[in-house]
């Protein structure tokens, strides 16, 4: 676990366990309860699986590796071995022969609102934007997620999505905390939470926050207003963190707790930002306050500053060909993703959409082909990093998932053809080694509570 919950707990508990220099009268009183840094803990447990081997398939391992007539073997929920045809398969395991098929790591979408903007999209379900103030870092997306959103199943069955980050929306400069989920239905959100995944902080640049608040005659109404509110907020957060670090007593402030978590490096910044110039501003702001931006999302103009992104170690999460829906998406180009990858920066394909999440592999294929037509030659297996390993990095979980490496979670998709083709669909999807979708078995097709007893229940969708 790269970012440590222990660190957060220590940080937040600093006021009670710190110095010993406190007056005895205070120390003698019952100590205030320690702040629990993980009050809604994951209860996710991998579902039972059987030791499984898939052989005779083309494998993209997610970190640029490729095997022809390859073998993937997983057991106990973990990848055991991945390799060419000579890779040994134990005698007593289920073996799938996958001639003509492909195996990849499960796809990870770093930008989804499934559950907090679920289907049906009625006002009663609209739980993605706490648009009541530009700074709402105190809200947590997991407290909005409806685990019965039918969208999760479409992302699984049609999209091969095994992990996804649910973000609050972009109405606010500070939208709140994200949550990373394994794509399994559960009765509770806690039952979906990716164990040990760090929290993210959703931030937003540009048109959305200034429109939402500007239209109410409230700050921010301009881009300079965006930056001013951001900076004033970071000043407050830095002061809050300083007090905690010094062991001073502070009144708990959920808003500032999240921001202090960013400043201490435990919470990852996931920053909605389209324009190159604004991304550069935000990079400078991060330096001003000493935090790190993990990824720019919707980075439509990333191609203009791919060198800057590389230099600062920031991922760009992008669409293949969305453009023109608002002013800050006007300069979109189809080669954005390959141009960022070519510059050596971390490129990610993301969806922000309950339909797009079902076709991320097709979006990667489009971008790859457009890049090749302009002379950027990236292999299929390297391009797969845009779909699994790079998003895993941006979520702080690359040590656990995102590629088919021994010891990692067995999040695996068997595709019925080349997964960079429009004609291909997932045939089987395993999450932590458990078979959770099988195109050949109608019983392995999740039906959410909402869909049960309604027209179309259990259809192939």
């Amino acid at each position: 676990m790269r970012t440590s919950w222990v660190l957060i707990a220590a940080l937040l508990a600093g006021c009670t366990t710190g110095t010993g220099a406190k007056p005895a009268a205070v120390a003698d009183k019952a100590a205030p309860p320690k702040v629990n840094a993980d009050p809604y803990p994951s209860t996710y447990k991998p579902y039972p699986g059987v030791a499984t081997a898939i052989r005779n398939v083309t494998i993209y391992d997610g970190e640029g590796g490729r095997f022809e007539k390859g073998v993937v073997f997983f057991s106990g929920g973990k990848i055991v071995s991945v390799g060419g045809p000579e890779t040994p398969i134990p005698a007593d395991v289920a073996v799938f022969d996958g001639a003509g098929k492909w195996v990849t790591p499960g796809i990870i979408d770093v930008h989804s609102h499934l559950g907090d903007y679920p289907s049906p999209a009625v006002a009663a379900h609209s739980d993605g934007n706490e648009a009541t103030g530009p700074v709402r870092s105190e809200v947590w997306a997991e407290h909005s997620v409806w685990p019965q959103d039918p969208g999760f199943s479409r992302a699984l069955a049609n999209g091969g999505i095994t992990t996804l980050q649910i973000l609050p929306g972009s109405a606010n400069l500070f939208g709140g905390r994200s949550v990373v989920l394994k794509n399994v239905y559960a009765r509770t959100v806690q039952g979906m939470k990716f164990p040990g995944a760090p929290y993210g902080l959703k931030m937003a640049c540009g048109e959305n926050p200034k429109r939402v608040y500007g239209s109410r005659g409230q700050m921010p109404s301009t881009r300079m207003g965006n930056m001013a509110v951001n900076r004033q907020t970071w000043i407050r957060a830095a002061e809050y963190k300083r007090k905690i670090d010094k062991g001073e007593t502070v009144t708990r402030d959920l808003q500032l707790e999240t921001l202090a978590g960013v400043l201490s490096g435990d919470i990852l910044v996931q920053n909605h930002c389209y324009r190159a110039d604004e991304m550069a501003q935000v990079i400078d702001m991060a330096k001003e306050f000493g935090y790190k931006i993990t990824a720019f999302h919707h980075a439509v103009e990333a191609y203009k500053i791919a060198d800057l992104l590389k230099e600062n170690g920031i991922c760009a999460a992008m669409w293949a060909d969305w453009w023109g829906f608002k002013m800050e998406s006007y300069d979109a180009i189809n080669e954005n993703i390959p141009l960022v990858a070519q510059a050596g920066a971390c490129a990610i394909v993301h969806s922000d959409d309950p339909n797009g999440i079902q076709r991320l592999y097709q979006e990667a294929a489009k971008a790859l082909a457009d890049g090749r037509r302009m002379g950027i030659n990236i292999s299929d297996e390297v391009a797969w990093e845009w779909l699994s390993f790079n998003p895993a990095k941006a979520l702080g979980i690359a040590d656990k998932t995102g590629s088919l490496k021994p010891g990692k979670m067995a999040d695996v998709v068997l595709w019925n053809g080349n997964p960079l083709s429009v004609y291909t669909r997932p045939e089987k999807v395993w999450i932590d080694g458990a078979l959770l979708y099988d195109a050949n078995d109608p019983k392995l097709r999740p039906v959410s509570d909402f869909e049960l007893g309604q027209p179309g229940e259990g259809d192939t969708k």
């Binding site: 999209a121 076709r359 259809d459 192939t460 969708k461």
Partner: protein
């Protein structure tokens, strides 16, 4: 990189009258649902298709274009779109799709509003879309106004057929526009048609709900001279629309959206009403789409419905080119157990000849049958495959430029570092 260097000058120097062109050696797709023809030839002259097939005589003097190893097809027809009506959707001043506070509705005519200079035209042209069914969006009434069929050519004459249809919202959106319920849609609709009849015979009352212009605009709808394109999604709403046909037998109905069409496919087929369907809706995104499935189009087709693919409410101002990807996804379904998809031939027809037929222009556009307009695309691969690209486009027999703002930006930022002069000097 080569394509983007096609100079803008080519646009200026394009002859107004196209010459005779023979495209040879390619895999030719007619677009009518028939199988691709290996090593076929397509001949266009005077802006029309003269012949397409495996044994085609090439007229003397024809310009020959070798398409060996390529695919040659009719241009994609966007089955339902709002292309040309918005520069940037989110910039209200540049968006003419809906007139939310106009006193007029049915009479609104988009023909003079289609702007061939907006980026959506060039981007879709470069992606192989040559014609589009363009509809207004309903503002504050169930009737949105009169849509057109356009081409995406790089010229100032986009209209193929003005006032090709009237667009009306039924179902969920119609209910909100009519005052809050589905019964209000029918009351509004019946009243509007009654007042249009009054207008037709010179008896429109002073206190009519319809403006005179709107009543006048509905006369060709009543007579069936103009298509009535109706948006409905749920099985219930679809059946309600079909019932209009019993009440008003002369209406020339077309259904759009139709997410739950598969549940009443036999009845749509029996009514003989063509459908322009949203192809890959599979989420219960609204209560009138609870039974959404990607098998919808395939099941309707199997039941005998004429089905085209359209993009209502799906980035319809800009992303019509996604129709080809959606068609490919319907082919993918043929390999998913329990799903119903389309054969490749039917899927390609669903984005070419079928939308043309649905809107009543099957004899003009949407295929490479002789006599159709000379809208031809050369692709570097299977046009339904997402990795394929467009190499050449003709509209009405005129070769089109394929550069766009996007290709210009691509060239400018192929190497993002600063040069000797700012990027503003790179062009």
């Amino acid at each position: 990189m080569k394509r983007l260097l096609l100079p803008l000058l080519a646009l200026v120097s394009t002859p107004a009258f196209a010459q005779t062109i023979a495209i040879t050696g390619g895999k030719v797709v007619i677009g009518d649902g028939s199988a691709p023809i290996e090593r076929g030839t397509v001949v266009i002259a005077n802006g029309r298709v003269i012949a397409a097939g495996s044994t085609v005589a090439i007229p003397a003097g024809a310009q020959r274009i070798d398409a060996t190893g390529k695919w040659v097809t009719p241009g994609i027809v966007a089955g339902f779109s709002r292309i040309g009506l918005a520069g940037v959707d989110g910039v209200d001043e540049s968006n003419d799709t809906a007139a939310k506070s106009s006193p007029f509705s049915a009479s609104l005519d988009i023909a003079l509003a289609v702007n061939p200079d907006v980026e959506a035209i060039s981007v879709n042209r470069a992606a192989g879309v040559t014609r589009a069914v363009v509809s207004p969006d309903a503002g504050n009434a169930i009737f949105a106004g009169q849509g057109a069929v356009i081409d995406t050519g790089a010229d100032h004459d986009p209209i193929t057929r003005a006032r090709a249809f009237q667009f009306v919202e039924f179902g969920q959106t119609g209910a909100s526009r009519a005052g809050g319920s589905r019964p209000a849609i029918f009351a509004t609709f019946r009243n509007a048609l009654a007042e249009a009849r009054d207008y037709q015979v010179g008896r429109l009352r002073e206190d009519s709900l319809l403006k005179r212009a709107d009543a006048a605009a509905l006369v060709p709808v009543i007579t069936g001279a103009q298509k009535l394109v109706v948006h409905a999604e749920s099985a219930t709403d679809i059946l309600a629309v079909l019932s209009l046909k019993r009440e008003y037998p002369t209406l020339s109905l077309v259904l759009v959206g139709v997410t739950e069409g598969w549940r009443v496919a036999d009845r749509i087929a029996a009514a003989g009403v063509p459908v322009i369907a949203s192809a890959v809706n599979d989420l219960p995104a609204a209560f009138d789409q609870i039974a959404a499935t990607q098998s919808n189009v395939g099941r309707m087709k199997a039941a005998g419905v004429t089905v085209a693919i359209g993009m209502i409410d799906d980035d319809d101002t800009r992303q019509a080119m996604h129709g080809a990807q959606y068609a490919g996804n319907l082919v993918a379904l043929t390999r998913v157990p329990g799903a119903t998809g389309l054969s490749w031939n039917d899927a390609f027809a669903a984005i070419t000849s079928k939308p043309a037929l649905a809107i009543g222009m099957g004899s003009e556009i949407g295929s490479l049958q002789p006599g159709r307009r000379g809208d031809v695309v050369i692709w570097d691969g299977d046009p339904l495959e997402v990795t394929s690209g467009v190499e050449a486009v003709w509209i009405d027999g005129v070769r089109q430029p394929l550069d766009t703002r996007q290709t210009r930006l691509r060239a400018r930022y192929a190497h993002p570092q600063e040069g000797n002069l700012p990027k503003a000097y790179d062009r």
